[in-house]
């Protein structure tokens, strides 16, 4: 890695605090988004299946 990248990643000696903080944020907010999107798609598929079924 180039010195500039290494220096950026080192975060002036705070790498062990700055990167986990951003990691947790991305993980929690991204997790909420993925969970909510999954739930929406599942319900939507259920609804489509119920509406497709022939009525007696």
């Amino acid at each position: 890695m180039s010195p500039a990248v290494t220096q950026f990643l080192a975060m002036g000696g705070y790498a062990a605090y700055v990167w986990p903080a951003y990691g947790v944020t991305v993980l929690v907010l991204g997790g909420l988004l993925a969970w909510s999107l999954g739930g929406y798609r599942r319900r939507q598929r259920e609804l489509e299946r119920l509406q497709r079924e022939p009525k007696p």
Binding site: F8, M11, G12, G13, Y14, Y17, V18, P20, A21, Y22, V24, T25, V28, L29, G31, L32, L33, S36, L37, G39, Y40, R43, Q44, E46, L47, L50, Q51, P56
Partner: protein, 253 residues
């Protein structure tokens, strides 16, 4: 208010608004992270550790804002029984809990280097932890009843009682001698934070707000679709029951 409390109208309105909120959130959070990590200079006291502030503070603002919104929706649900109010409160709760968790964890990471400890039981930290437990308690209570209506009502009352915690969080840094620093943005006499740090913070905060708006609409839409699925299932069960009892068929063996 009444005009938007109609579920069909909400489905149409949210279908238009949600993509724009999501796009705005992606752009603003992307720009905010770029500014926070690459552009903002290191703090003269905190060095690069100050970059944690750009996720910690917006998450903390959202934690309180989402709770206020949840309580408002709960009040509307109790008083006017709007069909969407309970759904809004229940859809917001897990997102609010997520923001509170981000606030607590990032604050802890920051405190370890700046204060020399992961956690102290000072008034600010403790009241935010109470906020986190209020979210979890609300979610547990809503799902604790067999009949969804009773769970929603019990949860709404808890959400309203918990509002007392919001001013405690806001003013804890003034009322008590806390390790946590006092407000530097929303205070009488204007912000005390440098403009070069304030702007990225506000961009990030607006990004978080739009992210919440998009996620809330998505979760409310999910709840409405689920209600429709339940109604169709019920109709199907009733048709079957009616079919069994048609004349000419043996009712029971």
């Amino acid at each position: 208010m009444h005009r938007f409390a109609n579920p069909a109208r909400f489905m149409r309105l949210s279908a238009t608004l949600m993509p724009w909120c999501a796009l705005g959130a992606a752009l603003l959070i992307g720009l905010g992270i770029y500014l926070a990590l690459f552009v903002v200079p290191p703090d003269y006291q905190q060095g690069d550790d100050v970059r944690i502030m750009y996720v910690h503070v917006p998450a903390a603002w959202m934690a309180s804002f989402v709770y206020a919104l949840m309580a408002l929706a709960s009040g509307i649900a109790i008083i006017w029984r709007h069909p969407l109010a309970d759904i809004a409160a229940q859809s917001a709760a897990p997102v609010g809990a997520g923001f509170t968790l981000v606030c607590l964890v990032t604050g802890s990471l920051w405190g370890e280097r700046m204060w020399g400890t992961w956690w102290v039981w000072d008034a600010r930290l403790t009241s935010v932890l109470v906020l986190f437990f209020l979210y979890l308690g609300y979610i547990a209570l809503v799902n604790a009843f067999d009949e969804p209506g009773r769970g929603a009502r019990a949860g709404a009352i808890l959400a309203l009682v918990g509002v007392v915690n919001l001013p405690i969080i806001k003013f804890s840094v003034d009322w008590w001698n806390t390790l946590h620093q006092p407000a530097s943005v929303f205070r009488l006499g204007g912000p005390t934070i440098a403009a070069s740090m304030l702007w990225p913070l506000l961009i990030m905060a607006l990004g978080f707000m739009l992210f919440f708006a998009a996620l809330l609409m998505l979760r409310m839409r999910t709840a409405l679709v689920a209600a429709k699925v339940r109604a169709l299932r019920m109709a199907e069960v009733e048709r079957h029951a009616a079919g069994v009892l048609t004349p000419g068929q043996p009712a029971l063996p």
